[in-house]
Symmetry: C2
Subunit: 432 residues, 2 copies
């Protein structure tokens, strides 16, 4: 038997006799030949059991094997282009480890809630494998991008003493004798402290929003990566964002094309994700809406439909910058040329996927930031540490946040974010 | 000026005139020569201002620069082995960005609480830079290890519906109409579902414990990496753990030696972290304690002092396996040779750092696992999904968890875990 072999390594073992440990995906019988499609988590392999080549005991063992039963199967590996995965095993031995009860997920169609209730089993299907492998590649590419550019990973705290933008959408927990702790919505403010210490950092972790939203784009718990760079302006921020998106998409196209095929993803829009990405101002975006006959009022935030109308005009993600400051957060710097505008940018994915990145240059002037805090009725005491970043060597700086699940959803071409994370948490779902 | 240059890249710019944007770390004056040590987050550089070479305005600007004031400094780069970082700049221009108020953290000694209250500023010091760069390298090495071995990253949920090992040490939050959600203590059970789907996975994220512990080893929020592998036994688990530790330590020694020097870390014990690591049974560990005259009763868990006594006998981490099942979790498989023992392993770091890894082979038999749930008074309904993993193609499997902060603490040789994470959360600390 030797060391353990995985199906993904079969190409290196053609002509050899190996043992694969895995589970029955499907099986079929054709007289004196029996076929098992075995999965081991790394791929699928067809195992061919010929009556003349095995003992009667082994041949009959096939009968007890139900879908998802676990087994060890031994045999010689042969290249076979027609087989799933491209290799077949001529079986010489077969050991049943555990016979599975009647498996609830069958090749027939199931409702989404049925599948989400069985998410721990649904993960075994080819489609979910493809999505979660793309997710892995996106996370890997994100870290590679920042690690190779000298950014320090700054793990921001999950427990925070105060709300960044009000407490209405925060989860809270009792925290010993210190009162309430709130689960972070964003590590950005901590990222800013990190940027002042390390020049360029990225925060990457789960974030939480207690929004009562039931849309196809909302999870209560989702992963976000947030780079923050000292001395960066809004233009630098947009340069970084487009280079970053290009890198992520190129990595998936390079390393996960088989998975995109399984997902039947039309990769045309993905192949277009190359610099430069179009950059339009909020004012120009409003003009686009008005030309389309949409009664959009200047000063409002762009809604989902508005974003779709705008992004439809481009063959790749589009950057919309300089939003009205009234719809943006207190920490965003105002445009020196127009105080009504914030130096903010949202990146809208094509094909109606909407915002995947939100960023801005931050307010770096102490007095201005203090005034903003008061305008937003935020308690100064909770932000003294944040104000310190403007007291002690303030510099221009900028950053953005990219939501991992929305990015996975867009790149995989999914209808809903619930499949982009192993165990989705939504307003009506906390299990399994 | 050209594109932005960071201090860590100075070796490529010797003889060139460049601009560095950063902060004043220290300064001193010596007649007609003035010295600024500038930090930019990537390193330190001495900038030399010679009166004869600059305008009077630039020369006098030196006077206003307080510690941590931000500035842009332009000049020619020269190799200078005696200077911090190895390069000096002969200054031709200097622009003040922001004059810092009197900086609270000075070269004098400060109390730990004083520094922790100013953690957002303390991060700027050389020692904290070194620690967090080692942390980054450890995280990078962890991901590299699993990514290069075909493990799928499985982000387990933070919100969980039920407690893995009782609710007494769990943080809880209201979850819409679904009652309470608990913050995860471990992603292991979800990792097991992942292993049955993908063969080999790793969970890597923050975990939470509401323990009222004030020791130097406890945080309420800490990062844990948890691999889980289908078909692995306890021996395989120990093989994986020792290969993993060897990789992490070797990566830090290879890539972060300057940081270990700053921390004055004696790397002798780190250089010993090579396979094979010693493996002793719990019984053998008890014998060691008894020979040392310690009145340790068989059946108890090893305490911190016990761990120190045991690990002192070895020059590298030691694996202690087969603990009494009564002190271990319900999901651990019993030793088929002795039902009183669990197929568990703890890895104890040398130099008194104690447990850094805890793992086990998992119970894979449905009936046995069900009986264990009842013995531990755990509600079966909350674990039906977990039992499903034994209903549908159960296989032997094993995994472990490594605490990132304890590993950073050990590798850096620190007294307390509070410096191993950017913003530590402890029973008495929730700020900044």
């Amino acid at each position: 038997m030797g060391s353990r072999i995985y199906i993904e390594e079969l190409s290196k073992h053609v002509g050899e006799t190996v043992t694969i440990s895995g589970w029955v995906y499907t099986k079929r019988s054709s007289g004196k030949i029996r076929f098992l499609v075995v999965r081991d988590g790394t791929g699928m392999m067809q195992a061919v059991i010929v009556k003349a080549n095995v003992s009667e005991e082994v041949f009959n063992r096939f009968d007890e094997l139900t879908q998802e039963s676990s087994l060890r199967v031994t045999g010689t590996i042969r290249k076979e282009d027609r087989a799933p995965g491209g290799y077949e095993m001529d079986v010489s031995g077969l050991e049943t480890i555990s016979v599975a009860k009647e498996y609830p997920i069958t090749p027939k169609e199931h409702g989404v809630e049925f599948l989400m209730d069985r998410r721990h089993l649904w993960l075994r299907s080819a489609r979910q494998h493809a999505i979660l492998r793309v997710r892995h590649e996106i996370v890997r590419a994100i870290r590679e991008f920042f690690d190779s550019r000298g950014f320090l990973l700054l793990d921001a705290p999950i427990f925070t003493p105060a709300a960044c933008e009000g407490t209405s959408t925060l989860f809270e927990t009792d925290y010993f004798d210190l009162g309430k702790a709130f689960l972070t919505q964003s590590g950005q403010l901590y990222g800013e402290a990190g940027a002042m210490a390390f020049g360029k950092v990225y925060v990457f972790g789960p974030t939480f929003r207690a929004e009562k939203s039931k849309t196809r784009r909302h999870l209560t718990e989702f992963w976000m990566v947030e780079p923050e760079v000292a001395f960066n302006t809004l233009d630098d921020d947009m340069d970084l964002a487009e280079e970053f998106l290009e890198h992520i998409v190129a990595s998936v196209l390079k390393n996960r094309m088989p998975e995109l095929k399984i997902l039947e993803r039309n990769t045309k829009f993905l192949e277009n994700v190359k610099r430069p990405l179009p950059r339009i101002s909020y004012d120009e975006a409003v003009e686009i809406l008005h030309k389309k006959g949409i009664a959009f009022e200047w000063g409002n935030d762009l809604g989902g439909t508005d974003e779709t109308v705008i992004s439809e005009r481009y063959d790749r993600p589009v950057m919309v910058h300089r939003y009205p400051s009234q719809v943006k957060a207190f920490y965003m710097k105002r445009d020196p040329k127009n105080d009504k505008l914030a130096l903010a940018v949202d990146v809208l994915a094509p094909e109606g996927y909407g915002e995947i990145i939100g960023g801005s240059q931050r307010e770096d002037d102490y007095e201005t930031l203090l005034a903003r805090l008061h305008e937003h009725n935020l308690p100064q005491s909770a932000f003294e540490w944040y104000l310190d970043l403007r007291r002690y060597g303030s510099v221009p700086h900028a950053g953005f946040g990219l939501g991992v699940e929305r990015t996975v959803s867009w790149i995989c071409g999914l209808d809903h974010v619930r499949e982009t994370i192993p165990f989705a948490r939504m307003i009506y779902r906390l299990t399994p």
